[in-house]
Symmetry: C2
Subunit: 132 residues, 2 copies
DNA sequence: TACATAATGTTATAATATAACATTAATTAA
DNA sequence: TTAATTAATGTTATATTATAACATTATGTA
């Protein structure tokens, strides 16, 4: 059983938006969505985002500057993330492939660097878009 | 033998800066560096960067919004990039590991998406920083 | 309680990136 | 070798993404 993180007010509001979005969402789009709830400033959003990323509830899609909820049901693997990104429709999905993560977690490079974390982004065309 | 790309004036100027830098360099830092050479506007830099990324002469470190010259001597694998990033000193190096790239190139996810490209960023402490 | 740590609120501003339009250079096809 | 096409450049303005700095309030812990 993993430690259930209790979110603060702003963190919860912002997490809910991201989770409902079902697609990557950008910080300023989140800001727009939460203005009716009293969150007015970018920094309030970014602070919540930072925390949510830190505890693994959401991930940042670096190549898109956008955020998605973690789909690996409750697991805290914010340290090992992999995504597939459709370059046509921009659909993003989190990859959870045990072999892949094992392989990458154990990867050691020649410089002897010890890794704590990785992020992998695959690009291509999703099924729908590759038919078009 | 791979096709030798001839760079335009701006592309060459900007590529030279990045190659000399030996560490990731940001777009506006490049801009500052090339102002004496007549390149005055961000867009001039970004356009050259886009092209250089496209032809694989440089890569973008997405998590850092910075750019490095490709170290895989002349090869055009801008489609398959992997880096190790030290979270302390921010040293970045390009990983060229045949096994790793073969593994990732052949990776197929469950949704049957066909990948054309990937980018992998490992994070940790480099040798120097892990001693401190 | 009191001390420490985390979260919030707010204003201003920094850093990163692109839109839109005009012009010039290089390539290619007739 | 000209005309047509495509690639690159120049320029101004502006959009987008992200953080600094400082004051305050809430929460957790000794």
């Amino acid at each position: 059983m993993d430690k259930q993180q209790i979110l603060s007010k702003n963190q919860q509001i912002i997490f809910d938006i991201i989770e409902k979005a079902k697609e990557p969402i950008k910080a300023y789009s989140i800001l727009f969505n939460v203005q009716k709830k009293g969150i007015k400033a970018p920094l309030q959003v970014y602070r919540a985002l930072d925390k949510l990323v830190e505890i693994g509830k959401i991930h940042k899609i670096e190549s898109r500057n956008s955020f998605v909820a973690c789909k690996n049901s409750n697991c805290q693997i914010s340290k090992a993330t992999a995504f597939s990104i459709c370059e046509s429709c921009e659909e993003v999905s989190e990859i959870s492939d045990n072999k892949l993560s094992k392989y990458l977690e154990s990867f050691q490079n020649k410089a002897g660097m010890k890794f704590k974390k990785y992020n992998l982004e695959f690009f291509g065309l999703c099924k729908k878009c590759s038919v078009k």
